[in-house]
Symmetry: C2
Subunit: 391 residues, 2 copies
Amino acid sequence: MVPLAASTVQDALVDLFVVLLAAKLGDELFKRLGLPTLIGEILAGVVVGTSVLDLVEPTEILAVFSELGAVFLLFWVGLETRIGDLRQVGRAAALVGMLGVLLPFAGGAGIGLSAGETTAVVVFTGAALVATSVGITSAVLSDLGLVPTPAGRTILGAAVVDDILAMLILGVAVGLSGDAGADYTSLALSAVLAVAFVAFFALGGTRVMQRAPGILKAPRFSESPLLPAVLLCLALAAIAAQIGLAAIIGAFLAGMMVAETKEQHPIEEEVAPLYAFFAPYFFVFIGLQLDLGAYGSLGTFGLLAATTAVAIVTKFAGAWLGARSLGSREATIVGVGMVPRGEVGIVIAGIGLAEGAVSEEFFAVIVGMSILTTLLAPPVLRAVSRPQAQS
Amino acid sequence: MVPLAASTVQDALVDLFVVLLAAKLGDELFKRLGLPTLIGEILAGVVVGTSVLDLVEPTEILAVFSELGAVFLLFWVGLETRIGDLRQVGRAAALVGMLGVLLPFAGGAGIGLSAGETTAVVVFTGAALVATSVGITSAVLSDLGLVPTPAGRTILGAAVVDDILAMLILGVAVGLSGDAGADYTSLALSAVLAVAFVAFFALGGTRVMQRAPGILKAPRFSESPLLPAVLLCLALAAIAAQIGLAAIIGAFLAGMMVAETKEQHPIEEEVAPLYAFFAPYFFVFIGLQLDLGAYGSLGTFGLLAATTAVAIVTKFAGAWLGARSLGSREATIVGVGMVPRGEVGIVIAGIGLAEGAVSEEFFAVIVGMSILTTLLAPPVLRAVSRPQAQS
């Protein structure tokens, strides 16, 4: 038997307190300024992180709390989403997902090509610009009450398509950067597995729940339906992560399944405190990963500006084109809503760095781009969606 | 910037799911058997742990979730505790705390002496038998509705005294096992700091809250009083851990402070899901730390039986003597309630092993004793407290 060091747990308690306090302060400040509170929380992460006060490092324990923040956030959004509503926007969502991946990939690969890089690096720079952080967008949609609108549902559906395609492109990029080259057979298998997982739980899972709406509070379960619901959420999140998707896709599917049961409302009430506790770690952790010192040189700063511009323009254009059938106003909301790269871009760049396919400089650029797109999108989304809120 | 391995977070999601599922299954099974559910959860930890199915290891991440389980548990118990009620049993609680530490220390040291060990080892074997796990006892008291009884309050008050004394004895033990010997000046400072911390928040903190009962929901805070309350809880837990006390003592003090505000009931409702989510990790983690293979030899098994017997008899006798003024029935409840050593005994034995003061065998014995006392106390506590529940 090996004892665990008590000091790890002690240090973790301090980190958990400092991050939650920073998030709360950032949130309150931005509320008073009339700005999106999640930006306040991300900037609070920058302030307590290594760049400024150096109080907290992005440890593995904080990474897990951050992931659970995103998981409970998407579970919560799933609880507000009926599968029938998603079906209505299915075509638009699929188009947004596909075009919103193709254009940024082309843009990112173009940056790599213009720098004269190898094929592996070119594919990675493309991959790094692809994935939307539906976590960030969901939080903003939820704040603005936009989840149950055509644009909101299109974004959620597109995010699932987006994540599957991003996984495949990342798989190709990792394969190309290794010695063995890309293994297209196993990539095809991954794709089939991912589509089967999503279809099975989105269609089959919700149907099971519709037929047995009392299943979470059957006499064989306990008084509260919370733990069965959280178990379903963690199970699908873990499976999604194991098959190469984002864990939050699984959490979203679990939320949609629970939305079909009789216990939807009590579970929403009980999940709210879990979301309130964990979500700040998700936002602050994004800021914690920024190291401002990495952008000191003019060259890096220029590359950051160019990459961010390409990331915004290509994603907006692709998503807007895909959502045109919803009308120009909704298409604009979808276009802006797909822009934030959030934690997903950071994770992909981290994989590229670990594989040796992207340089330290480009890693820093992708992290910066991910955070900039995440900071820029919420205020714009508020502005473009305002007219409807008043109608 | 250093990227974090995505696989750590993926593995953690699987661990978090498996532990929660195991806890739920253990809980449901023991509910059907009419046995205390927390025992079902601890045994579920043994089953999924290295001894049986080997599905989960006691990782640092699970240790943090376990600690938060105990923290939210004691915060919750603090929410049900008024400082005025604790004062009424102050004398008995102090006596229980002191006698309940002295007798087990003497018993443990006796075991060390009879084995002919050095002074450092003798002090450690004494220290390892001292500390009560108020986490376990609180969970049982809460299940049985005994928190607001004289016995329940005496146990909670005694646990604070117990923890301060245990910290000091552990400090002496660690000092003696090092080259420099025990530093009694810094130990005295620690004692003063610990007493000052408890007195400041138990007396001063609750008084501040009594005078400003709306402070957690003042207009300058947000809609929900949950995060301010959780921040207070984490802050006092982190401070308590930093000054050498158990984190849960700080959480308990924070709960007592919040109990004096107007927001006590909404906070209880919102903390309940946090407690429901985290507490299973606390119970399962205790079981996870058991390695049944360590008790294979007859000698170790005999030492485990003897140590457990001494741990039970000395703690019961000390606490019973201290609580005599409450009457024989209440004194019996207090005596049994103080017996579980839970995670505290495991932590102290781990420190002893790390310091080289206790052998691998004795570490395994203390872990076994901690778990056995934890498994034995709840059913006995239910049995001895039953008459009142029916009256």
